[in-house]
């Protein structure tokens, strides 16, 4: 009989002792495949539910931060901002806007030049959803979405500013994957309570806001978290990016000149 017979090959494989190299390899492969399939199915089927939970958490955090910042729940109105011009994009709906998806889609996002990309984002959406509370014609409080690279994850948060566009009313992170007990402490209310009253830029308009190593000096600095240098630096970088010319800079300029109205 000529040529390999598949049946005899299989029978020879089965007859091998269980500690032989081919059987060991086959067993390892089978276990790895089985485990991978089970884990993948669990992750994929449960992701929509987890997203809903995260979304609820995000909204609860905005409400909590705003009520801390202004003492009570004033009504905030959501607006879309064209980040390049800094104007409100009134034709877009902020409720259905998905910032994460928009930042990935090449049609709704732009690449950030390497030199300006201090927050390590790569691309950013052309628009952003912001929340503003007006008192009469003047903005009294605004909440800006901010995110950027931390130590081992992307930090997602909201920065609340007073009407002058320079005084921090609150900073709150709602999603991150930093080291528990170290970088993950940016989620703690105690650390976030250090932010209200801090100023972003000095008199000349230069951004000075910084998370420092050790204790903070002056109105622009905030105490860093011990043992989480790269998370601290990540927070500094993402704030400076989003407040700079590639972030909300143009919008804040128009806000200060009184152009942004309800």
């Amino acid at each position: 009989m000529a040529g390999p017979d598949p049946m005899s090959w299989w029978q020879r494989f089965r007859a091998l002792p269980k500690d032989s190299t081919p059987k060991t390899l086959a067993f390892a492969l089978a276990v790895a495949l089985g485990a991978a399939i089970v884990v993948s199915i669990a992750t994929v089927t449960l992701r929509p539910l987890q997203k809903v939970n995260l979304e609820r958490e995000r909204q609860a955090r905005i409400v909590a931060m705003v009520s801390r910042a202004i003492g009570g729940t004033g009504t905030l109105t959501a607006y879309m901002v064209d980040l390049e011009t800094g104007r409100l994009a009134r034709d877009m709906d902020p409720v259905t806007f998905d910032a994460e998806a928009a930042a990935k889609n090449p049609e709704t996002s732009i690449a950030i030049p390497q030199a300006a990309d201090i927050a390590g984002l790569g691309r950013r959406a052309k628009h952003a959803a912001v929340f503003v509370r007006f008192e009469g014609e003047k903005p009294a409080l605004l909440v800006l979405p901010v995110y950027g690279q931390g130590y081992q994850s992307t930090l997602w948060g909201y920065l609340a500013l007073k009407g002058d566009g320079n005084t921090v009313a609150g900073l709150s992170f709602y999603k991150q994957g930093e080291t528990p007990g170290l970088g993950a402490r940016i989620m703690e209310p105690a650390w976030q309570a250090l932010w209200p009253g801090k100023r972003l830029a000095d008199e000349t308009g230069t951004l000075r806001v910084q998370v420092t190593k050790g204790s903070a000096k002056g109105p622009h600095e905030v105490d860093g978290i011990t043992g989480a240098t790269r998370t601290n630096n990540g927070v500094t970088s993402l704030l400076r990016f989003w407040l700079g010319d590639f972030g909300f800079g143009p919008f804040l300029k128009r806000l200060k000149s009184g152009e942004i109205r309800p």
């Binding site: 269980k18 067993f27 485990a35 884990v39 987890q50």
Partner: protein
């Protein structure tokens, strides 16, 4: 039938993974500040332990000796990831409070210990019962410690006020120490002592004896 039942009930008190084998202490300290987190942790560990013992016992005749530990860990780790994902989807608040400790079930000595000591040598049914029994034994201790710590540390049980605290206008001053890790050590120590006073057979022989000084003493 009696032996089957023994496989299930023996690890609950007679060979309890925490008070007798002194395993899984890290998570027993970390998640018992409130009863709710302790209960969820118990459910997660019992599920992982039972299913992993069953699976490993099913595969025990095919499992090559040279890679058996890594295969056991792969199975346990996959189950832990699945449980963690389920908690994140259906019990989000609790899973945030448990943080890394669900993931750390992978390194819990009870799970690998039962796989290696029991499931590798026994049929599937007995292994399932052994996993379940050890899970119940672990849960029993966590529930006892979690109840004491939440009750004395915050005056509540499962979030409901039981002892009216001073802050709410009552008489009870919460013992803040109960919410810190050392209190769990104390409670666990007392518990081990109590169980061993009742079940003298669990008392271990001392590994060495202190020699009495010969000179100056009475004969």
């Amino acid at each position: 039938m009696k032996r089957t039942l023994g496989t299930l009930t023996h690890p609950v008190i007679g060979d309890n993974p925490i008070t007798v084998q002194i395993l899984g202490i890290c998570s027993a300290l970390a998640v018992t500040t409130s009863l709710a987190t302790a209960l969820v942790m118990c459910a997660a560990l019992t599920a992982v332990l039972t299913v992993s013992c069953g699976l490993i016992s099913t595969l025990r005749h095919q499992m090559p000796q040279s890679i058996r530990l890594i295969v056991q860990i792969t199975i346990i780790a996959s189950l832990v990831i699945v449980v963690d994902e389920i908690l994140k989807a259906y019990a989000f608040e609790i899973s945030k409070r448990l943080s890394v400790f669900v993931g750390l079930i992978i390194t819990n000595c009870i799970v690998l210990g039962r796989a290696e000591a029991f499931a590798m040598r026994n049929p599937v049914g007995a292994s399932l019962l052994d996993g379940l029994g050890n899970g119940i034994g672990y849960s029993l201790i966590l529930i006892v410690i979690g109840t004491i710590r939440e009750l004395l540390g915050a005056g509540t049980l499962l979030g409901y006020s039981v002892l009216a605290t001073v802050a709410e206008g009552g008489w009870f001053t919460p013992l803040k120490l109960m919410l810190l890790a050392p209190s769990a050590f104390f409670l666990l120590g007392f518990l081990v002592w109590a169980v061993r006073s009742w079940r003298r057979d669990q008392v271990e022989q001392p590994e060495f004896r202190i020699r009495r000084p010969a000179a100056g003493g009475r004969p």
